[in-house]
Each structure stands twice: as structure tokens, then as C-alpha cells.
């Protein structure tokens, strides 16, 4: 590779003292040839570099393709499951909306019997939601928020009419469960609010 080849200085070639016209013409000719050669070498170098880059990229792509094939990425079943996941997500969203709507109905409950009627629906849908959500990841408390909400409904629905603050907190919990990730501190902030708002999550002792 002649990328190190330097261009000769043009004026220097022509203006050597004592050179005949022939020699000057030859110099010009040599100079043009050198320039051509230089340009060609540079082009070849650029092409070779590009070729090597493409080869490298192709190698990485092939490796990834092999890995994907090994993991049955192209398996139809897998693709179906992925579509199923999307459907499940939609269903979860519909369920969450239903629950949220019914929690808002709690503000309008006239008495405890009205409240219990709302809570039957809320508890049933929340249980469905819990069954639908995948096992929680180690550090993601998203599903645990739904568990907490479920316990609040089940353990408090008949203890007395919910206050506005309690209903607002229940709404917050459902809203929080929509987030893709809930950290430990966020989760226990909700837990402490439950304590401060006198909402039970533990059973009455034996």
C-alpha cells in the first residue's frame, strides 16, 4: 500500500536549472504518472478498508443470526407467544381501566352496602389481573403493588366506609401499577401511606 507516497512539489520539478525542453516534458510526464499512481493507491486503500469493514460487520451479523437460530427465534410458536404477550398487555390495560373506573365509583357509594357491591367487582378484576401479570422481576415491585391493592380491598371493604383520602390512595396504587417499573422505595412509600391512612393489609390476629 503506497499511502505513504508523497506528492512531489510541482514547481520544483519544472524549474530545475539547465534542463532541456525534452527533460522538462519528461518530468511533467513522470509527475502526471506519479499523481495517477498516488490517486489510484489511495482509492484502492479506501476500497480495501471498506471491504474489511464490511467483512467484519458480516461476521458479527452471522454470529447474531446463528445465536437467534439457536434460540429458535424463527420458531412460529415463539412469534405467536410474542403476539400473545401483546394481547395480554392490552387485556391487562383494559382490566386496569375497569378497576380504576370502579374505584372512582367508591366516591359515590351511598353506604357500606354500596361500597361492598363495588368492591366485589374490584376484587374479582384485581384477582384476574394478578393471574395475568407475569412473575415479578427481582427488583420490580410493579406486580407487588397490585398484590398490595388486592389486600387493601379484601381486608377493608367491610370495615367502614372508605374516606376520600383512602380512595385517593387506592387510585394512586392502581395508577402506579401501570408503570413498567416500580422500585422498592416507591412500593414501601405506598405501604407507609396505607398505614397512615389506617388501611389494613394484615389479618386480625388469632
Amino acid at each position: 500500500m503506497s499511502q505513504t507516497k508523497e506528492m512531489l512539489e510541482f514547481p520544483y520539478i519544472f524549474q530545475k536549472k539547465g534542463d532541456t525542453v525534452d527533460i522538462q516534458q519528461k518530468n511533467i510526464y513522470d509527475y502526471i504518472n506519479i499523481q495517477k499512481e498516488y490517486a489510484q493507491d489511495n482509492q484502492i486503500y479506501a476500497l480495501e478498508k471498506r471491504y474489511s469493514e464490511i467483512n467484519q460487520a458480516l461476521g458479527i451479523f452471522n454470529q447474531r443470526l446463528t445465536n437467534l437460530e439457536r434460540n429458535n427465534f424463527w420458531d412460529n410458536e415463539e412469534i405467536e407467544v410474542s403476539e400473545e404477550d401483546m394481547l395480554q398487555e392490552q387485556e391487562q390495560s383494559v382490566l386496569t381501566n375497569d378497576i380504576l373506573e370502579e374505584v372512582n365509583q367508591l366516591y359515590h357509594a351511598e353506604d357500606i352496602q354500596d361500597q361492598i357491591s363495588c368492591c366485589v367487582f374490584i376484587a374479582e378484576k384485581t384477582f384476574e389481573l394478578l393471574k395475568m401479570i407475569d412473575k415479578p422481576d427481582e427488583n420490580n415491585y410493579k406486580k407487588q403493588v397490585v398484590h398490595l391493592f388486592y389486600q387493601v380491598v379484601k381486608r377493608n371493604y367491610a370495615r367502614g366506609k372508605f374516606t376520600k383520602d383512602q380512595i385517593s390512595l387506592m387510585t394512586q396504587m392502581i395508577e402506579k401499577s401501570r408503570k413498567p417499573f416500580v422500585c422498592e422505595e416507591e412500593y414501601f412509600e405506598l405501604d407507609e401511606k396505607l398505614y397512615l391512612n389506617k388501611l389494613e393489609i394484615f389479618p386480625e390476629g388469632e
Binding site: Q144, R155, Y195, F202, G205
Partner: protein, 249 residues
């Protein structure tokens, strides 16, 4: 950080699980400067929290509810087994016996109990003993729950219980022959005085009520709040601490 009343382990447990007493306990907490101690927290962890860590681990071993139920007995949970059994049954009912949901819930149960200890109490914990068990934190590793640091033996030297004994040696001495004090506690105190056994491991656990009462001497009211009146009464009389009694509302 001046506490007026020290909350003992029974109060800390019952304000979670006994609704009838909870209102009264919460009222006491609201009206007084209440707090607890690292010793109480350590005792609470080695009883309550450890039980639920174990219950979760049993769930990891079994694949059905009956299997778990079989292993909730007094060999595993000692005198707390009725409470664990009761709570387990309650959770099963709550989740319509759905094994996976119960397991998910139980995984976080011990963490809830750990946090609940401090809710409603702004004061820091008294730390005369620097109890090692209070520092144990729940961890999930290799598909099981762990509570490293919860065990405490005579040979271990990672707390200040011996210094605590030296500071309160006279008061401990006065408890040796105290009428009404369980023999088990008296024997443990005798071991410390006559056999020069350190206030560590099982001895430290056996004289737990004495430790808590002596810690209460550091409160402005010289008061301890407990639901275990029978056991605390003779100790408090001897040491000069008043019991703040929790009555059912």
C-alpha cells in the same frame, strides 16, 4: 433523642396483628414520645421476621399448599407456630388457594414486617446494646430467602451486651432472687454472676425482658409499654420502671 416510653416486642407485634389493641397502642404512640430499641428490633427480627423468611423457604421447597401446611409445626416455629399457621391460612383464603400468588405475597411479607416496626415512630432506636440481630437484613439469593446475621452465639463478639451487663450489674443482681420471676430467667442471671458466663447468645435471649426493662431506665418516663404484664411486672418492680399498660378499647 429523649424517649418517654419504650415499646417492647409484644407491643410492636400486636400493633400489627391485634386490631383491638392497636387503636390503644397507636393512641399511646400519638400522645407520648415513644420509641424502641435495637435490642427490641433484634428480638422482633429473630422471632417474627425469621418465621416468615422460613415460611417463604418452605414454600420454595414444596409445590402444593398441603405440603407447606404439614411443615408449619412447633418444631420449626416453636411457640409462634400457631401465629404462623393462622396467618398462612388467612393468606391462602385471601388468594383462593392459588399457590403461586400466595408464594409471591409471602416473598414480601417479611419485608413488610420489617418496615412496619418503624412506622409511626419518629424517634431513633435506643442503642445501648448495639444488638447485632437488629442489623440483619432480608436477602433473596439462589431461589431462597436469607436473614444473614440473625443468629447470635456465646462465642460471638459483635455487640455491646457485656458492657450493658457491667453497667447494670447491680440491677441484674437484684433480680436473682426476685419473687415471681421465671426460674429460667433466674438461672440465666445466676450463670452470669456465679459462672461468669457472658451476656451473649442464649443467655441474652433468655433475659430479654430484663434487658428491655433496663433499657427503659434511659427513657424520661422510665416506662416500658408491653402487653406481657405478667412477665414484666416483677422485673419492673425490682428495677424501678413503670409499665404502660395496653388495654383493649
Amino acid at each position: 433523642m429523649l424517649l418517654e416510653i419504650l415499646l417492647d416486642t409484644t407491643v410492636q407485634i400486636e400493633r400489627i396483628f391485634k386490631r383491638a389493641k392497636r387503636e390503644q397502642i397507636e393512641k399511646i404512640i400519638e400522645e407520648h414520645d415513644c420509641g424502641s430499641s435495637t435490642y427490641v428490633f433484634g428480638e422482633y427480627k429473630s422471632n417474627m421476621i425469621r418465621d416468615f423468611v422460613t415460611l417463604y423457604n418452605i414454600m420454595c421447597m414444596e409445590d402444593n399448599l398441603a405440603g407447606v401446611r404439614e411443615h408449619i409445626n412447633d418444631t420449626v416455629f416453636h411457640r409462634n407456630f400457631q401465629r404462623v399457621y393462622y396467618i398462612y391460612n388467612d393468606i391462602c383464603k385471601l388468594y383462593n388457594d392459588d399457590f403461586e400468588l400466595i408464594k409471591e405475597n409471602l416473598k414480601i411479607y417479611a419485608m413488610h414486617l420489617e418496615r412496619r416496626f418503624q412506622y409511626g415512630i419518629e424517634k431513633k432506636l435506643l442503642n445501648e446494646t448495639d444488638c447485632h440481630r437488629a442489623k440483619a437484613r432480608i436477602q433473596f439469593q439462589n431461589g431462597r430467602a436469607e436473614l444473614p446475621g440473625i443468629s447470635c452465639q456465646k462465642k460471638d463478639d459483635f455487640c455491646k451486651s457485656c458492657e450493658f451487663f457491667e453497667r447494670h450489674k447491680e440491677k441484674f443482681g437484684s433480680l436473682k432472687d426476685k419473687e415471681g420471676l421465671p426460674e429460667k430467667i433466674k438461672n440465666a442471671i445466676v450463670k452470669m454472676f456465679e459462672n461468669h458466663e457472658p451476656l451473649k447468645g442464649n443467655i441474652c435471649k433468655t433475659v430479654g425482658d430484663c434487658m428491655i426493662t433496663l433499657e427503659a431506665l434511659d427513657t424520661t418516663g422510665k416506662m416500658v409499654c408491653t402487653t406481657n404484664i405478667e412477665d414484666f411486672q416483677p422485673i419492673c418492680e425490682s428495677v424501678g420502671v413503670t409499665i404502660c399498660e395496653v388495654k383493649k378499647v
